[in-house]
Symmetry: C2
Subunit: 206 residues, 2 copies
Amino acid sequence: MTNTQDEVASKSTRELILDEALHCFADRGYEGTSLNDIAAGVGIRRPSLLHHFPNKEALYADVFEMLLSEWLEGLEVAISSPTSGWDKAELVIRAGFDLFASTPDYVRIMRREALDSGVHVGVDLAGFLRPLFDKACAYFTQEMQMGNFRQHNAQHLIITGYGAILTYFSDAPFIDELLNDKALTPQNIQDHCDHVVSFFRSALLV
Amino acid sequence: MTNTQDEVASKSTRELILDEALHCFADRGYEGTSLNDIAAGVGIRRPSLLHHFPNKEALYADVFEMLLSEWLEGLEVAISSPTSGWDKAELVIRAGFDLFASTPDYVRIMRREALDSGVHVGVDLAGFLRPLFDKACAYFTQEMQMGNFRQHNAQHLIITGYGAILTYFSDAPFIDELLNDKALTPQNIQDHCDHVVSFFRSALLV
DNA sequence: TGCCCTACCTACCAGTAGGTAGCGAGTTAG
DNA sequence: CTAACTCGCTACCTACTGGTAGGTAGGGCA
């Protein structure tokens, strides 16, 4: 229940359900979340929830579709920017951080889905993201061939970056305890973003 | 069921249950795994399983304790090696890879636990790992002060490394689909390990 | 032989899961 | 005014959950 009173008043029940479902699925996973939990969070009963979505799977699929479309939209802007060289890489890293910082629940759902190899969502997740992956590979390969970046295997490089960036958000509860601090405050996110950028710059720039 | 016929014959029922539980919990999570699943995997009924463990939580706790003790033992050797400078960092990274490669199911359970902020396991996971974390921080800080490594924030550096390394194993099913290849073949693990080592060397060495 | 112990079994329990049937108040359209 | 639709509800279903009760086959032992 992250919605303000105004949002509750202005949003449709369907949207409220999607919001609550997103939060529950991110927090406790698909199996760990019951439709009763979600309905209670919205303030209705389970059968009423099932008026808006045919079943649990469909609800989850809708949440996930929301996630994918928002992410694709957010990343597309950064990826297709007319910059090049390190500037572009930094732009994409920072865009990714901004995106994930504004939707940490999405990151946790994504991570759970990666762990479960996408058994809950109908769409082929990896197939959906492969175009972006290939685009990024081509970009790094090109920059390395031009001598702008140090030589690394592009595929492994992106997987390493994917892990490094996503983990900060997905494992935030764990990192909280490790640091005795809140990982997801704006300041700490900014600090970690700056660190990742400077770390990758060190590794890539000659 | 990753046990060979010989292992099945030689292992006690209790050990067989622990093996199967490890696999199930890693694959489908705590909520997604039923005691029936585990018992069926071993070839007994649920009540027989509960003869060996008082309840589901206790079984999970025992699996997790197994994980922690094996990891601590494996990492302790590398961390306390009498090397220094980059050699030590590389030794620890490679030891981590070897450890995770030999126990990929542990990595996935660990990831799930980090996502759930350790609600299923009684022990304070972060508290348990903090000594290692602090030790690693102190090490990197010292090396950076001596001018052996480039300047990075040690805490953020370790979190980045943790994410980069763990993700390759925890998200292996997803990476499989992304690469159209098996991430966890010995060759691919070796390649990715080499990449991470060279990536971190580029970022850290002046 | 009689007794305890381990390790399994079937049968059952209460609780909860996802999902359906059908009722009723409120709104809207013809 | 009424018919249809929307969106809540209660009541119920079946399937399955973790867990318990009680029984039994067989081994070791006095």
